[in-house]
């Protein structure tokens, strides 16, 4: 785990860059982390996914998979890949400041 300061906020992240504590997140932090991932601008559709990820995490204790995101977030899987080209579930989880989604077995 590494502690770093992003947008003036102290943040604990694991080796892969996922948040340890979602309470350390805010929207300015999200903008910075999106840049790290090569996303220069967060559009309203990005924010829709980001807020959805946080809500799912708060309710279920894990972020959704891409397939569940496509079914429930109001953004199709195809669009999700356009928004987060390197893998929507993982990248959106990072930007949304939640731990890595557990996925399925």
């Amino acid at each position: 785990m590494t502690t770093m300061t992003i947008a003036g906020q102290s943040i604990d992240r694991n080796d892969e860059g996922f948040f340890e504590n979602p309470d350390q997140w805010n929207e300015d932090v999200a903008v910075e982390i999106a840049r790290e991932e090569g996303i220069d601008e967060l559009t309203p559709q990005h924010w829709q996914v980001i807020h959805f990820m946080r809500k799912e995490y708060a309710e279920k204790g894990t972020g959704p998979t891409v397939r569940v995101l496509g079914k429930t977030s109001g953004v199709s899987v195809k669009e999700l890949y356009q928004l987060f080209p390197k893998g929507p579930a993982k990248i959106a989880a990072k930007v949304a400041g939640i731990p890595k989604p557990r996925g399925c077995i």
Binding site: K71, V77, L80, K86, G103, C104, I105
Partner: protein
């Protein structure tokens, strides 16, 4: 008055639960099993059908014949479950009220959810072996295949028996060697995971075996489209894998009626279930077993079998108003066919990864290593399935809790 137990689904979980509960409760419990057809498929046999190693007729038996006397079998489609009124509505208009409901309707294949998958080329050069018609059609196609690119693709998790696609790759390597044309066949395994399997230690072993057998591994490939006409898989991030013959494991979801039953299932049609007691999270008098649950265990027959023991206890405790047993540990146990009359065995649960050693104790079948003994175990299992597992007899030495005696356990 006898209480009414309705079991939805007459597959592995539904059948073994009906038989165990009938044996335990006798006439005190009125048990009805509902299924839309009377064909019980021994699903582990599907893997062997494409290679001509199992005959389709040999792996199907009538569902009603697997049920004990005293269990009623109702052949009908399910329209929906009304969890408020505690009633099951059947397609033919009949209504079955229940005191306790067991959902055992497994997982459904959803090939239509992937663009192009059921389009041109479906069952001509794009197949699945996850149902009997698909496995049978694939057998004919493999016999006619005399070289080219054979691609295996798992579209997304969860799937039934996550090791089966790997077994298919191993058996394909063997099959083409036997036919003397292995050098003319390119085998590729395309997965959405970041390795050959979900569990890291087993993934290393299994990934190594793919490499040894000359199977190319493509990871983190999220299939967006199967283009049968042009013969290519296209991922959402626009990578392509060309094929002459594709064997695709389609998306899975719960049974259709779950989507039509308000409050019963999650977004994929699986029933939210407590992973240790197998009581559903939707209503205390609804329990779930096997592939129909959303618990983080493999969707596999062994899991269903081990869950059965906890569920028998918990349905009984629930009827008596006692506290539930929360001991199910996610135990799973899989024989992995590796070809050449050998198989590998893995054994794991929610917390412990597959590891090396022996099963069930220090003297036993080797774990995480291929051997002839494991292959015999896999073949013998079909007999055990029909004659011990479904009737609800105990299988000596194989209990619901994961054994640790013969294992080299390390923390990972």
């Amino acid at each position: 008055m006898a209480r009414r137990l309705v079991i939805l689904g007459g597959g592995t979980g539904g059948t073994l639960m009906a038989n165990r509960l009938q044996k335990h409760h006798g006439d005190d419990l009125e048990i009805t099993v509902v299924d839309q057809d009377d064909r019980h498929v021994y699903q582990p046999g599907l893997l062997f059908v494409p290679f001509g190693l199992a005959d389709p007729d040999d792996i199907v038996r009538p569902r009603h014949r697997q049920l004990r006397k005293g269990v009623a079998f109702r052949q009908a489609g399910i329209d929906h479950v009304d969890i408020e009124a505690e009633q099951v509505h059947l397609d033919d208009g009949a209504v079955l009220p229940y005191d306790v409901l067991v959902v055992a309707t497994g997982a459904r294949l959803m090939p239509e959810e992937t663009e192009g998958l059921t389009g041109p080329g479906w069952n001509e050069k794009v197949f699945t072996f996850y149902d009997l018609p698909g496995a049978t059609a694939l057998h004919r196609a493999l016999e006619a295949f005399d070289g080219g690119r054979l691609v295996l693709n798992v579209v997304d998790m969860p799937i039934k028996c996550p090791v089966a696609p790997l077994e298919f790759a191993f058996l394909a390597d063997w099959y083409f060697q036997e036919r003397g044309i292995r050098d003319r066949v390119e085998l590729t395994y395309v997965t959405p995971l970041d390795a050959a399997f979900t569990k890291p230690m087993a993934a290393r072993t299994l990934g190594g075996m793919l490499a040894e057998k000359g199977v190319e591994l493509v990871t983190e490939f999220n299939t967006g489209e199967v283009d049968g006409e042009a013969g290519r898989l296209v991922s959402y991030d626009e990578r392509e894998v060309p094929f002459d013959l594709a064997v695709v494991i389609p998306l899975h979801g719960g049974a259709e009626y779950v989507d039509r039953s308000p409050g019963l299932g999650d977004e994929l049609g699986f029933v939210p279930t407590d992973q240790h007691s197998l009581q559903s999270k939707v209503r205390p008098n609804i329990f779930t077993i096997g592939d129909a649950t959303n618990v983080p265990a493999s969707k596999a027959g062994s899991v269903t079998h081990f869950e059965g023991e906890v569920l028998l206890e918990n349905v009984s405790r629930f009827l008596e108003g006692r506290e539930l047993d929360v001991s199910y540990d996610g135990h799973a146990n899989c024989f992995i066919e590796t070809g050449f009359h050998k198989a590998m065995l893995i054994d794991f649960n929610y917390d412990t990864e597959p590891t090396t050693g022996h099963f069930p104790a220090a003297v036993g079948a080797p774990l995480m290593k291929d051997s002839r003994l494991n292959h015999l175990g896999k073949l013998m299992f079909q007999w055990v399935y029909w004659h011990a597992l479904l009737p609800g007899r105990d299988i000596p030495g194989i209990g619901p809790d994961m054994p640790t005696a013969g294992k080299a356990l390390t923390t990972t």
